[in-house]
């Protein structure tokens, strides 16, 4: 039973995945403090580590083409355990929504509008997101293609504008740090930007394409997002060098320093606008997924009554989650990767294994 009957095309899906991952490319403070000038190596490693899990996600999507994650959980694990796991996933989606909302509000509050209270920023932003969510998946993902392409264009421009500040010596020495740092960094990057694409399992029934062909688009979206993240890290490391680890927003500082000829300088507004646009896409999508999963677990016909209440809850939750952005970064490097591993890697693997064991895609009721 499908709550939202909207359909999105495969290309829209691909760019949604890319846009979602690109939104995290601007908040790299979590791992640059750990691996400093080798951060780009860690990003590539995390990309490779996540690829098998991406194939697990694709397998799940292929095996259950018209069911979203909550329905899959109920089917595979049985009603009781399935509902418990689905409830955990709902908490995960809600936390993700609030975290990204908090990131946006912190950024706007600290750099652009220091006097405006955060609640006003969050409220107005979430109001627009709620408006988009109300009209279903079509509207939520409609502009993601445009956003993704805008970010890629602006990234290319930013690289050109900071080209005179790039010093390739800043990447040396390579592989100089203890191995544990690389493991830690890879873990952080694979769970926070890359692994969060598990949320796309919630919109499997909405994609207008036979399941066999989905893998190509999902993979390409992931690749685009990964490439963007690597380019961002490369540019920041090349420009900033050893001061990279000092800042909480390295990409912001890089673009502040851009000055190609006297006229083209002080370009951090590009970073700010792209951040807001992409975070809008990400928060809207996460908001939609949270509301949809709630409606699914309670088996309602529509998710519309939930939107505003969950919105209010998300805002309050965003304030409660961390009292300061330092706590956010500290938790992001230590606790969050371990927690997210459960939702992004362990549970999908278990789901696929049990589904295969119970031969679920073929017949409905085999015990």
């Amino acid at each position: 039973m499908q709550i939202d009957k909207g359909k999105i095309t495969a290309v829209q899906f691909m760019f949604s995945v890319a846009c979602y991952m690109q939104a995290s490319s601007l908040l790299t403070a979590f791992f640059v403090g750990i691996t400093k000038q080798d951060s780009w190596i860690v990003v590539i490693l995390a990309f490779l580590v996540c690829l098998p899990f991406l194939f697990i996600f694709i397998s799940i999507m292929r095996n259950f083409p018209d069911k979203n994650l909550i329905q899959i959980n109920t089917l595979v694990f049985g009603p009781v355990v399935g509902n418990i796991i689905s409830a955990m996933y709902i908490w995960y989606f809600l936390t993700l929504t609030s975290l990204n909302l908090r990131d946006l509000s912190d950024f706007v509050h600290q750099t652009i509008m220091p006097k405006t209270p955060s609640i006003v920023i969050m409220f107005l932003f979430l109001l627009v997101c709620a408006w988009a969510v109300r009209f279903g998946i079509g509207v939520v993902t409609r502009y993601n293609t445009l956003f993704s392409i805008i970010q890629i264009v602006i990234l290319a421009l930013a690289v050109v504008f900071t080209a005179n500040l790039i010093d390739f010596q800043n990447f040396l020495p390579m592989f100089d740090q203890p191995a544990m740092e690389y493991v830690h960094g890879t873990h952080v990057v694979s769970t926070i930007p890359f692994g969060e694409v598990v949320v796309f399992l919630m919109i499997t029934p909405n994609i207008k394409l036979p399941p066999k062909k989905i893998s190509k688009f999902f993979l390409w979206g992931f690749v685009i997002g990964g490439i963007v993240l690597v380019v961002v890290i490369l540019r920041d490391t090349a420009v900033l060098g050893n001061v990279l680890g000092l800042f909480s927003l390295p990409s912001f500082e890089t673009q502040r320093m851009a000055s190609l000829m006297e006229a083209l300088s002080r370009l951090e507004i590009m970073f700010a606008s792209v951040l807001i646009i992409l975070l809008f896409a990400k928060v809207t999508f996460l908001y939609y997924v949270t509301v949809l999963s709630l409606a699914q677990i309670f088996k309602f016909e529509t998710f519309k009554p939930f939107i505003l209440s969950i919105g209010a809850l998300a805002i309050v939750y965003a304030f409660i989650l961390y009292s300061s952005s330092m706590q956010h970064v500290e938790s992001g490097t230590n606790a969050t990767p371990i927690l997210w591993t459960l939702f992004e890697f362990v549970l999908p693997m278990l789901t696929l294994l049990i589904a295969k064991m119970r031969k679920l895609p073929q017949t409905e009721e085999v015990v």
Partner: protein
């Protein structure tokens, strides 16, 4: 504080009236549960009560009980 209460009243108005009219009591109950949670948490937060954060608690749990940390 008055803004918070006003905002939640508006939310209740927009969300609950259609549900009551369509007599969907199950939905009303569920939405109401989340609504009440939101109201309670907001009022607590605005009054200055420190609400423990689930992420921080889980992080501490992982670090101290399970020793699973970097």
């Amino acid at each position: 504080m008055p803004y918070v209460i006003f905002a939640f009243l508006v939310i209740a108005l927009i969300d609950f009236l259609p549900l009551i009219k369509q007599k969907k009591y199950k939905e009303l109950f569920c939405v109401g549960a989340f609504f009440i949670t939101g109201v309670v948490l907001s009022i607590l937060y605005v009054s200055g009560v420190v609400i423990p954060s689930p992420m921080v608690l889980l992080g501490d749990f992982l670090k101290k009980v399970l020793h699973l940390s970097y």
